[in-house]
């Protein structure tokens, strides 16, 4: 799974064009006989996994394929390009970053007004997106729009690196971690049928999830995610939100959903019984595809299982592989319990 995880993190797919990730997943699925799939009109990849038995409950397990990135909005006369963020990216973490531009992955860098022209007050102000530009060097006017044009995607350059004893740092861990967990599940034998949904456009408002949940029409949903850990220098108590190395994050509530209480308790009891570390979030913050899925059609009983991850939505997300292993250990047990122990309401 680590191979999938690293490869997926190093791909470039922002909301609205997730094809690189989708194609990679398809290349793995084509080797298997127990899956069928369709691609919905928005680009989500909906995979039907055949298990040993028919499922008593229709279960959809999802992860989103898109990563936060940038999009070119204007070509400037000085051969730079105006940008906006695709998803919630702080201009601070884009400034001075090497990026890949468009389908050809041309190299660029994000620049801004030079420091020597700023007043002392301006130097303390956080940069804003309308002050940032994409810089690919100075090109003759005729070539500028060939290199990039309005609507061209700009991605953080791939940078997957091992850190410390068991940690990794990369762009796009949100949510290639979920994609890797879900792909890994599809590569195992499944006791029951389920639908794996690799979704589009989470970062710009859970749009792929809304359409896919309608199409799949599940009774239960598990959302596999990466979520904000803030256990950084000086953080104490609940301000840490969640911590690396303490296992999957199972939230009771975030800004998008209040999670199914029975599933929430079930996940914790499975972890306790099987000595899998797990934690919840100590702040009600963030959100994920659950926000769209749990309120789809007549309602879907939903739980999110998340990898704790520092510096989310930056080019340097940092996560612990022990947590990824713990998520992977929990998932099959949770699926089995949902099928065998939870009754429909």
């Amino acid at each position: 799974m680590l191979n999938h995880f690293e490869t997926l993190c190093n791909l470039c797919a922002s909301s609205g064009d997730e094809s690189e990730v989708r194609n990679y997943i398809l290349s793995v699925l084509r080797e298997r006989k127990d899956v069928t799939w369709e691609i919905d009109p928005l680009g989500s990849l909906l995979v039907q996994k055949q298990g040993k038995k028919r499922a008593p409950h229709k279960l959809m397990i999802s992860a989103h394929m898109d990563e936060v990135g940038m999009i070119v909005t204007h070509v400037n006369s000085d051969s730079t390009y105006c940008l906006e963020a695709v998803g919630g990216v702080d201009a601070s973490v884009a400034l001075g970053r090497q990026v890949l531009v468009g389908e050809e992955h041309l190299h660029g860098v994000i620049g801004t007004k030079p420091v020597h022209l700023l007043s002392a007050d301006e130097k303390k102000k956080l940069p804003k997106w309308d002050e940032l530009v994409l810089d690919m060097g100075i090109l003759p006017e005729a070539e500028r729009r060939t290199a990039a044009r309005e609507g061209t995607y700009v991605y953080f350059a791939p940078n997957f690196t091992r850190m410390g004893k068991s940690r990794v740092c990369s762009k796009a861990i949100d949510d290639r971690a979920g994609c890797a967990m879900l792909l890994h599940l599809l590569e195992q034998e499944a006791p029951y049928d389920f639908t794996a949904a690799f979704l589009v456009q989470e970062e710009i408002g859970l749009r792929g999830a809304k359409a896919a949940a309608y199409t799949v029409n599940p009774e239960f949903a598990l959302v596999l995610e990466a979520t904000t850990a803030a256990d950084i220098a000086g953080a104490e108590g609940d301000a840490k939100v969640c911590s690396l190395g303490e296992g999957p994050v199972i939230s009771f509530m975030d800004r998008g959903a209040i999670y199914d209480k029975e599933l929430y308790r079930l996940a914790f009891s499975i972890c306790e019984k099987n000595k899998i570390p797990c934690q919840t979030k100590s702040r009600i913050a963030g959100g994920n595809d659950s926000g769209a899925i749990h309120a789809s059609r007549g309602g879907v009983r939903t739980l999110a299982i998340s990898l704790p991850c520092r510096y989310l939505h930056s080019p340097s997300c940092l996560a612990d592989l022990k947590d990824l292993d713990a998520c992977t250990a929990l998932l099959p047990l949770l699926i089995k319990s949902i099928m065998e122990e939870v009754s429909s309401i």
Binding site: D135, T161, G164, A233, S316
Partner: protein, 339 residues
């Protein structure tokens, strides 16, 4: 000479001010083919070309080896690394930047930041002492690997942009070093009207200390600081910056020798090398400031390569400017007169 490859070699080596050993080793190796002797002295790399003779000036060509970065100041109770800066840094660029701590081994790290989901609206640009580096190691593990005083460099490889632009860490002043090496390549085997010392100096970003002691030893008649200068950026001020692609900037300043400046301009014009004037009203902010007052005084000049995003992890230059800078230095050496 493949300047892209040369810049790759020079930027891949680390050398935060005061810890220039890695880049010095690379510099010594690159300089050796072009000099009669090359040695390291007090951290500086010094190459000598030609015999010093009376009536012929001895010209010092300098580029600094050191790069801006950090020094480790402490390891926190919760296992993060606190730092101080070596050289001036643009702190707007720091959140979530990747760095390498040069401890007992090289250790990858990332500068902490708060994701948008958890911000409270009171965020500001963090000063250096507020920054913390996350290595993924615990405090106990870190204490085996890192100690106060270890240097920290930015982890930003050289990548080619469009045309012949490149982006990398520490192009300030590795591109100056590259242009001197290119000049030496151009004048290889030529009879020159001068003898030369090449000084790849330490600690420019903190104190110009390497240049100060280097020039004292070398005792040049003429000293040229080859460094970088501000290139026009988006929303910049064209009256205060150089243009990329239009060649080296020749310094004109009350603190520089007007004769050296005029000779540089004459050399550029004689060999039809594009150049730009860089007028400064006093000190130059380069090693030339210490050269001019070395011992009883030295005729100093500056030639500078326009560079974008100075003192950030991702500096940008145009390779053709490095080439033209080297051509200018060669043209100057071919005809430099006494001062």
């Amino acid at each position: 000479m493949d300047l892209l490859n040369l810049l790759e070699q020079l930027t891949a080596a680390s050398g935060v001010s005061g810890s220039e050993n890695s880049i010095a080793a690379v510099a010594q190796e690159l300089l050796t083919p072009y000099c009669d002797t090359v040695e390291q002295r007090q951290g500086n790399v010094i190459g000598i070309l030609g015999e010093r003779q009376s009536g012929k000036p001895h010209v010092l060509l300098d580029a600094h080896m050191d790069q801006v970065g950090f020094l480790v100041t402490a390891i926190t109770e919760d296992g993060f690394v606190r730092v101080g800066n070596a050289g001036g840094l643009d702190c707007r660029f720091m959140p979530a930047q990747r760095v390498v701590i040069h401890g007992k081994q090289d250790i990858a790290g990332v500068i902490c930041c708060m994701p948008p989901h958890l911000q409270n609206g009171e965020e500001h640009v963090l000063s250096v002492t507020e920054l913390a580096i996350d290595t993924g190691y615990t405090k106990e593990e870190l204490e085996q690997l890192v100690e106060a005083g270890d240097t920290v460099s930015f982890d930003m490889p050289l990548v080619p942009l469009q045309s012949d632009f490149v982006c990398s860490r520490s192009l300030d002043d590795r591109c100056g070093m590259a242009s001197i090496l290119y000049a030496l390549f151009l004048i290889q085997g030529e009879e020159l009207p001068c003898s030369c010392s090449i000084l790849f100096s330490t600690q420019e970003e903190t104190s110009e200390r390497g240049a100060t002691i280097g020039a004292y030893d070398i005792e040049p008649d003429i000293a040229l600081a080859v460094d970088v200068t501000f290139a026009l950026e988006h929303n910049g001020d064209a009256t205060k910056c150089g243009s990329m692609g239009k060649g080296p900037m020749i310094g004109i300043s009350p603190s520089l020798s007007r004769k050296v400046t005029d000779d540089l301009i004459a050399a550029a014009d004689a060999e039809k090398i594009a150049w730009q004037p860089e007028v400064m009203s006093g000190r130059t902010g380069t090693n030339a400031d210490c050269f001019s007052v070395t011992k009883g005084g030295v005729c100093a000049g500056t030639v500078s390569i326009p560079l974008r995003y100075m003192h950030t992890p991702a500096e940008v230059i145009q390779i053709s400017d490095v080439k033209k800078n080297g051509e200018l230095l060669a043209a100057y050496l071919r005809r430099c007169g006494t001062c």
